[in-house]
Amino acid sequence: MIKLINISKIYEPDVRALDRVSLHIKPGEFVSIVGQSGTGKTTMVKALIGEEKVDQGKILIGGWNITNIGQREVPYLRRQIGVIFQDFKLLPKKTLLENVAFALQVCGKTPKKIQNIVPHVLKIVGLEKKQVRYPHEVSGGEQQRAAIARALVHRPKILLADEPTGNLDSINANEVIDLLLRINKFGTTVVLVTHNREIVNKLKKRVVTLDNGMIVGDQATGKYIL
């Protein structure tokens, strides 16, 4: 599903954010990418969504080589990968319903399809009663669930979660992780980037550990060892 082949990303003058990283994530896997701050986790996420171009190596997503993806193709890539962020990144002047619908509107889906899909997805994440609220009117946990709904709405094969629990308390954090696990059960490949030790150790899923831009650990049911 996701193949990183010997990728490196160098920031001027000689900061190696990623250093000859090779990683293969199979369809349906739940993988945690862990490491302290500055080890290259976010750079990896940015490379996967076309926000950063790598200086060396190849990136394949579902067979599509996105290493030198053109600017015009980036939106199409992002519509196929669901991404959730630490700061939720909801559009502040749109309701939760409109935020989720936006992801379908940019794909050109008809109003009828959107009306069918969006309330259903909001129900899955438990926000059916709050769909007309604005992001600032709901809690952090609810905002993150809305972001997950938006990421899921066009049924991506991959869900990338970049520090999704970073701004949440432990109860909300656990709820979000449970949601990700449920999503993974339905067959979506989930890549969770985090530095939250408790969550990783509780998951008992594959753990890939980064340090200084390099993979220093890759365990099938690992723990956060750094």
Binding site: I49, E51, R72, P75, Y76, L77, R78, R79, V83, F85, K89, L90, L91, P92, K93, K94, F102, A103, Q105, V106, C107, G108, T110, R150
Partner: protein
């Protein structure tokens, strides 16, 4: 598909305008102030031109005729000069009319009137008052008048006239040039203010622009709502300025009429006659500036 996308983009644009109402009001207010200054410039330019026209209209050249010249020859000379293309109008002032005018101009000067009585006869000569078409062709006209061979002409010394008219011409030209320069600086400043107002408005949306790109919005979906907002701002701004400016002109018109008493100056008519040109160009200009500013501002934040 394109139609659906376009409808969505329009909806996003209007939704954004309404949901950020204070930002929209402030931005439109800045546009209105800029448009007000531009329209005021037009008023000043118009009034200035009217003042110059008044001065030019006062300019004339006098051709003095011999006291005993027969009336018919004077009228023939008048006709001849009227036919010149440089001439707007020729007025014949007879001896009697010249005397009457002299008495009227000096009615508060008893010594001069007394001297005239003691003279016993009319010392003034008939004259032809020649009004040129414009101040620019004065030289040409004077040259032509100097070439007339007619024994009834008493004197034709236009040197002082030439010098005075030359100075007036120079002053009005300089006033025009300075006015043009000041107008251009003013307009440039107003447009710069508008440009920055739009950039600031886009700056407040920088996070949203980034989010739209990260969620998979194409450049069309990212840029178009803001470009359309720029057009809507321009439309609202021009409509409001029309509603504000016409009452302002109605208040101004009586003062202009009083100042230019006897001359036909109607600023409201000027704006009515050139309505489409004035407000149409303002709308297109402001809309273009808004769109350019929006494009470059959005581009800065859409690089994700």
């Amino acid at each position: 598909m394109f139609f659906l996308s376009f409808i969505r983009v329009v909806k996003f644009s209007l939704q954004d305008l309404v949901r950020n109402i204070w930002l929209s009001i402030v931005t439109i207010t800045i546009l209105i102030l800029a448009l007000f200054s531009i329209n005021m410039l037009l008023v000043v330019k118009n009034v200035g031109q009217a003042a110059v026209n008044v001065v030019e209209e006062k300019l004339d050249i006098s051709l003095y005729i011999k006291a005993d010249a027969p009336e018919d020859k004077i009228l023939a000379l008048k006709t001849q000069i009227s036919d010149y293309q440089q001439v707007k109008d020729v007025v014949y002032v007879s001896k009697a009319e010249a005397l009457e005018s002299f008495r009227e101009n000096n009615k508060n000067n008893p010594e001069i009137l007394q001297a005239l009585r003691e003279l016993g006869k009319n010392p003034l000569t008939p004259s032809l008052i020649i009004k040129p078409n414009s101040i620019e062709i004065i030289d040409e006209l004077i040259n032509k008048l100097n070439k007339i061979e007619n024994e009834i002409i008493e004197s034709r010394n236009f040197t002082d006239h030439k010098s005075m008219l030359g100075k007036i011409n120079s002053i009005t030209n300089k006033v025009g040039n300075v006015g043009m320069f000041v107008s251009l600086v003013f307009i440039f400043t107003a447009l710069l203010v508008v440009f920055n107002a739009i950039r600031i408005a886009i700056y407040t949306h920088r996070r949203e622009i980034t989010i739209m790109k990260l969620v998979g919005a194409s450049n069309y979906f990212t840029y178009m709502p803001f470009l359309l907002s720029g057009i809507v701002y321009a439309l609202i701004g021009v409509l409001v300025i029309i509603l504000i400016f016409y009452p302002f002109l109605s208040l101004l018109q009586p003062y202009l009429e009083a100042f230019f008493l006897g001359y036909n100056i109607n600023i409201i008519s000027y704006f009515n006659e050139n309505f489409i040109k004035i407000f149409g160009l303002q709308f297109l200009g402001i809309a273009a500036i808004n769109m350019i500013a929006s494009y470059f501002a959005v581009r800065k934040y859409a690089k994700v």
